[in-house]
Amino acid sequence: MSSLLRNLFSKHPEVVSTVKSTARDTYIALCLTGQLLTLAYLFDRYLFRLVGVKGPSMLPTIGERNNLLLLDCFTYAFLRSPQKNDIVVAENPFKPGHTLVKRVLYVEGEMAEVMDQRSQAYVSVVVPKGHVWIEGDNKSNSRDSRDFGPISVNLVDGVVRARVWPWELRQRLD
């Protein structure tokens, strides 16, 4: 097989140059594709991205269905940690793959008041280091830190900066 190819290439040098240039073009295309995909991933993770959310837990700030939000990942990766009243997108600690969109109410060191299910009384929970207390705006229909306690800042993906879709309802800093 290789002797056939060698025979072909020695008799037809123009085939060799075409194959070489095609191979080089393919290699360049593959390298550029790899670079582009990596840069897109880094952009997605460390700069900003668009996330689609739905659910009633942030009414009336974020509507119940078909919302596209601009998520800023840069702030929490390089600038600061979550502050009070930030709307954040976090990963659900109980359901891998699902996200939570809630508002930060208390940061580390502060005390959160929550109704304990077992004793039916209000208890104070100190938010530990590296954690935040998140709650949805729609208190009656939201599963948040009142149910499962403070969540780690490592699970928080980024802060919501604007609603992009529906276009008629676009606004900054929900």
Partner: protein
Amino acid sequence: MGQYLSHTFFHPQTGHPNLKVLTFNTIILLGIYANQRLFSISLIKDDSMSPYLLNSTFLSDLVWYHKYSPPTEKLRNKIVAVRDPFGKGIIFRRVIAEEHQWVQRMDDGGIIKVPQGHVWIECENPDGRKIDSLSPELNGPISRKHVLGPCERIIWPIWRCTSFSDMNKFSVLFGDKKPRHSQMYTSQQMYDKYGLQ
């Protein structure tokens, strides 16, 4: 500046792209991607997993671990790399039980069901923990999201290079004091024993 860049990426005489620079840049970017998504290395900072993973002033172990672990991967009894939920470091622990399994705690004997989406982790050597490592109250369930992935190898120091799959040879170093772990029960065993579901 523009001329410097164009001379770096393209040959000045022919105008063809400079393949060496292109390959170098691609390798750098793919390396960054692999470090973020696939695997990474980390130093050991305390003795909580001795004698499997040792710490010392000059020659702490350097562990190569996977950063990607699908949610369905069985991690039971493996040493995993865990993101510290209280800060930014990486900690190594052993997984005792996965979600929906039951654990009988070794300190007070209470039986707890591991919540959905969580795993029960413990260290081998509770006395070797540093102050800012995961405290004894949290030798317990942690969200699966914090668990990065199983550890692959120790790559430094050279005389301790072993794969994690044949780490059991270090267990002879325990002698009489084997590490105690909480007992794990599956749902079937709990049902057979106590009728619990």
